[in-house]
């Protein structure tokens, strides 16, 4: 009797204890989330009030509306010539052309974003950690009861959120204005292609953002980290293609090639070298997404193309075509962030 009473009371005691523990751990988790979002909120507000970002945002907005204007006028001119505008629009994916077409006076939306996006990413990231260190706020921040990674994660999430809001807002406004001015609605496929294209932009900018964050952990001076990030950006956007061209000349010279297979192999090799650059990956993916007529990103022989119907690819197939590119971009982004994360977690807090 006695024993069973005791054992049941002990059991009850254990159960309540367990319940209590799960309760407190849940409670801790929700407090932790709240704290994390407090950091994200503050960083987001900081971005929105910093002149550097405001100026960049203004430039991006201006250029985008400029490119929208030239695209719209070009498309309008083309449509006016024909009678059945809507039919033509559907067949030639006219709506997507809003993002890619220009009349030569101003570059297209894609070009602008490919150029300014990395700058925005770098501007968001290059002083993430070292400015806190130099202002003496890092040691104060880390003496609060928060896990250390909240700081770097919070900054990353806030910057990503800003990009997400900015580019989806921009893309949707673009579409809305396009519909209003041209008067042709996008098809569902076009709509999804555009949404995916916007996502791609965000991934691409996230890469540069993480590169900036990485340098902000490595370099103590904000100027050093800004300059190094910009140097890498310049290297990939200007010099890398030149270097590859230089290398590819002897490789692709006709005198050394004996068979078709060799030619294809060498072409593929050069192409793969180009693909080491995130800029190239981005431009390949955007062209595939926004021009459904692109059917392949590699070299095709005449044998392979004979018998193929020269029509546009469906959305799923386009996506499949650029899947490796997208995974590659996400992978470099993650690698940058992981290195930054590990370095930050191991770094000494003292500035001197």
């Amino acid at each position: 009797m006695e024993i069973s009473k005791i054992s049941s009371s002990v059991k009850r005691w254990f159960r309540t204890k367990e319940e209590n523990e799960t309760n407190t751990s849940k409670k801790n988790e929700s407090v932790g989330n709240r704290v994390f979002f407090a950091i994200v909120r503050k960083e987001f507000a900081d971005y929105l009030t910093s002149w550097r970002i405001i100026i960049l945002l203004a430039i991006i907005l201006l250029t985008c509306f400029g490119s929208l204007y030239t695209a719209v006028t070009t498309i309008k001119d083309a449509i006016e010539g024909s009678n059945d505008a809507e039919e033509i629009a559907k067949q030639s994916y006219l709506f997507l052309k809003l993002f890619t077409v220009s009349d030569g006076t101003l570059p297209s939306f894609v070009t602008f974003v490919g150029f300014l996006g990395p700058l925005l990413g770098i501007a968001l990231g290059f002083d993430a950690i070292n400015s806190e260190r130099n202002r003496g706020t890092l040691s104060r921040l880390l003496s609060q009861p928060i896990p250390r990674d909240y700081v770097i994660n919070g900054k990353f999430v806030a910057a990503l959120l800003l990009n997400l809001v900015l580019f989806y807002a921009l893309g949707l406004i673009f579409m809305a204005l396009g519909i209003l001015i041209i008067g042709i609605p996008p098809t569902f496929e076009e709509f999804f292609r555009i949404l995916f294209f916007l996502l791609l932009i965000i991934v691409y900018i996230a890469f540069w953002l993480n590169l900036g964050i990485l340098f902000s952990v490595v370099f103590r001076q904000a100027a050093t980290s800004a300059l190094s990030s910009i140097a890498i950006w310049l290297f990939f956007s200007v010099f890398y293609s030149m270097i590859i061209e230089l290398i590819s000349k002897p490789i692709l010279s006709s005198s050394s090639i004996t068979s078709v297979e060799q030619l294809i192999n060498r072409q593929e090799f050069v192409l793969n070298l180009m693909r080491l650059s995130p800029n190239y990956l981005f431009s390949e993916s955007t062209t595939t997404l926004l021009s459904p007529t692109v059917r392949s990103l590699g070299v095709l022989t005449v044998e392979q193309t004979t018998g193929a119907v020269a029509g546009p690819l469906p959305f799923g197939q386009s996506l499949l075509l650029i899947w490796p590119q997208i995974t590659g971009l996400i992978a470099v982004t993650m690698i940058c962030f992981t290195i930054a994360y590990i370095l930050f977690m191991r770094q000494e807090i003292r500035a001197h």
């Binding site: 503050k42 900081d46 003496g136 003496s143 609060q144 009861p145 807090i349």
Partner: protein, 317 residues
Amino acid sequence: MPRPIIELDKVTKKYDDQYAVDHLTLSIKKGEIFGLLGPNGAGKTTTILMLLGLSEPTSGRVRVDGIDSTRNPIEVKKEVGYLPDDLGFYQHMTGFENLMYTAALNGIPERIAKERAKDLLEKVNLLDVADKKTGKYSRGMRQRLGLADVLMKDPKVIILDEPTLGIDPEGVREFLQLIRRLNVEEHITVLLSSHHLHQVQQICDRVGIFVNGKLLAEGTTESLSKQLFLQDTYHIHVSASPLSEELVQKLEAIPNVNKVEIDQHSMNLYCKEDVSATISKVIVESGASLYGIRKKNYGLDEIYHRYFEGREADGNQ
């Protein structure tokens, strides 16, 4: 005896081959103001960072309020407020906003945080500039805001790293009074690191002298002087005339007087015990007129200075 709130047990921190902190054992009682005194680069900040779990000790154990700082730094940081020496605030935010951000990081609900922030700003005398951007604050104001910031989480212990660096004397006085008041009114334990001896002396209950990663001596300022000046603990200054040979001999014969130095109309006596009463009696009985007798206590300054003098001499031997 209650458990000490801060316990360091043979804590060692090595950078490459150098000891920043060398087998430090120290305990601080609840409600105490402890001064960690030492020259620059002695390992004070390293010790503090280990207390907060921001730096990992190479060996040894650090406990704050019974919690292991190395294993459970977040729990420790809930109890401990830390005011770093290179203190900074977000300059584009107001003082009030900075405090509110700290509160958010501590998971304090907004309503309570607002009240507490106002309370603390009033306490540190910054209420009238609460809505000014901290970029416009003076160094002294920033330091006081730092104190308010540290108190936002309602800590049991506050650790102040060189808190008086770069503030004007009036500011220092105010700041130290503030700390004293907090200690008395709210029973907060204070650990204070500094190389300013006078300031430490003014408010600390206990002092530890910390050089090259080692705690050389600890205790109240009086016991420190006893530890460091085994012989000449008391220094008595006497002005009397005439100072005859005979009188000096008589004075030297008093037990516990080690040395008598004559300087025109006055004398300096170095003694082991407080014998000023005997000295005045001897002088009066010998027929000389006594103008003044003053007991000089050793300040930390002298302790510090004498101590290092001694060390250098040891090094030269």
